[in-house]
């Protein structure tokens, strides 16, 4: 059974922006689902429609086999959403905020569960503080706790780790993995594609309000189009027009650490490895280190959307 079944969802904002165009998605029960897309793809719009903070302009959805729009209040009790924008109530302490959120969702605050959430989200030391005194990262973790406080069956996280450091991110994902193992369906958006690849068993990529692909992560990763030659230099590279032209066959991408070239096959079946390597050495000189790797989620994403997941800064 699906936890969530979305059919032909549309959203046109009042200013004419088409944020979602006939989006259909199926999120299997118990899955750990990555909803990926470049900035402005419509991820938050989709999530906010599920959360009932944005109104859809068309389409239908079923949540645990109930009509989302007809049985709104029942459905709301099954969902916990971490919004993308940090929100906080300057009048209350984290513990009060959690008790209030629980009450609003119609469930008696469960002190043991609240203590557990505070502990797992590393807020125990700050329970007595006013939320005004919390740092941005703490406020975001409090939002995660708020989403979980009424024990929802579907947890939706909209970029919960934006601006959260690596260590904390790992611990947060560890906690989500535990919840998932205990049966909670999790849907998340993130810019960390390596983490999404490692965590999630299902993936959907949307771009410009349309679904580009949606399938089990393993299936997607099996259709690896190609492998890559990476070459590390001890300095960031930049591509001149001449470089781009010379390496055009290999769709070069440069990063802080070096360059990455897409490999293919020659007509005789031989890999283009050798030509690619020679061409790069001709442009940038011998690398410090080099190797071949298979396509990862970031490459797939780039191939399907032709966009970086983040605007390069």
């Amino acid at each position: 059974m699906s936890a969530l079944e979305i059919k032909g969802l549309n959203k046109v904002y009042s200013n004419g922006n088409v944020a979602l165009h006939d989006v259909s998605l199926s999120v299997p029960k118990g899955s750990f689902f990555a909803l990926l897309g470049p900035n402005g793809a419509g991820k938050s719009t989709l999530i906010n429609i599920l959360a009932d903070t944005v109104l859809a302009t068309g389409g239908s959805a079923r949540l645990f086999d109930q009509d989302l729009f007809a049985e709104r209040n029942w459905c709301k009790r099954q969902i916990g959403v971490v919004p993308q924008e940090v929100a906080f109530d300057p009048f209350f302490t984290p513990r009060e905020v959690l008790a209030i959120t629980s009450g609003l969702f119609g469930s008696k605050p469960d002190d043991a569960w609240i203590d557990h959430l505070l502990d797992r989200l590393e807020l125990t030391a700050h329970v007595g503080k006013n939320t005004r005194q919390l740092s941005g990262g703490m406020r975001r973790r409090l939002l995660v706790a708020q989403a979980l406080v009424h024990k929802p069956k579907l947890v939706i996280l909209d970029e919960p780790t934006a601006g959260v450091d690596v260590e904390l991110r790992r611990r947060l994902w560890g906690f989500m993995r535990e919840l998932n193992a205990a049966g909670t369906t999790i849907l998340l958006t993130t810019h960390y594609l390596d983490e999404a690849e490692e965590l999630c068993d299902h993936v959907a990529i949307i771009d410009q309000g349309k679904v580009v692909t949606a399938q089990p992560m393993a299936d997607l990763m099996q259709q690896v189009a190609s492998s890559y030659l990476w070459m590390n230099y001890d300095k960031p590279l930049s591509l001149s027009e001449a470089d781009t032209l010379a390496l055009a066959d290999f769709k070069p991408r440069v990063s802080d650490t070096g360059v990455c070239l897409q490999l293919g096959k020659l007509e005789n079946g031989q890999s283009t490895f050798h030509t690619a390597y020679e061409a790069a050495v001709a442009r940038f000189g011998p690398p410090q280190d080099a190797g071949v790797r298979s396509e990862d989620l970031e490459d797939v994403f780039l191939r399907l959307t032709k966009k970086e997941i983040r605007e390069t800064t």
Partner: protein, 256 residues
Amino acid sequence: MSTMNLRGCMTLFKREVHRFLKVKMQTIVTPALTAILYLLIFRYAMGERQVPGLDVDYFTFLVPGLAMMAMMQNAFANTSSSMIMGKVMGMNIYLLMAPLSALEVVVAFLAAAVVRATVVAVVFLSVLSPFVDISVMHLGIILLYGLCASIMMGGLGLIAGMWAKDFDNIAMVTNFVILPLTFLSGVFYSVKQLPEFWQQINDANPFFYLTDGFRYGFLGIGDTDPYASIMVVIGTSLLTIVSCWYLWRIGWRMKE
């Protein structure tokens, strides 16, 4: 399957009450202080002058109206400030995400506004009671008019809070709509003292009937017959509730 969420409604009500109890300075100290200021200014500076045409001294006449004005302003402030704070801080989404019906939300907000207005009126009147004769002639009228005024103003505050984009918008409504209407609702004078033209303007001010009826409950005197206005006052309160309910239900200025 749509069951009521009484716990949610109760939680929201308590949250709104806690909110004003946490700013006691504004909700309890301010009305007590203004009571003392009014006492000094109107009682001691103006002496025991009589209100023309009414058999009562000016300060005794003033007190119920001032209490009503404080109630109205506080009921408005409670809902409007909570809504705009929630909007600016992003917290209002929790009211939209929670399984709360529009009626549950509206009832919780208005009930909290009524509680705040009542607390303010009680503090105000208690501070003044040693200095002025606060008689109660018609308790039912006092309670009904107090309740209806709080509901109307709490409801207007809720609507203004939904409409506003920032604190400035709210300050604008407070300063240009709420303050003039409450100040000109006959708190400081009997309409009989006004020129004809202003009496007509006054007749169109809904808050005039509330203030006048409330005062009648204490003093047994007034410019209008409060029993004749009862249905209008109750009707307007219900209309306010229905408007709030409808606007919340469609997500007016809350959901894109």
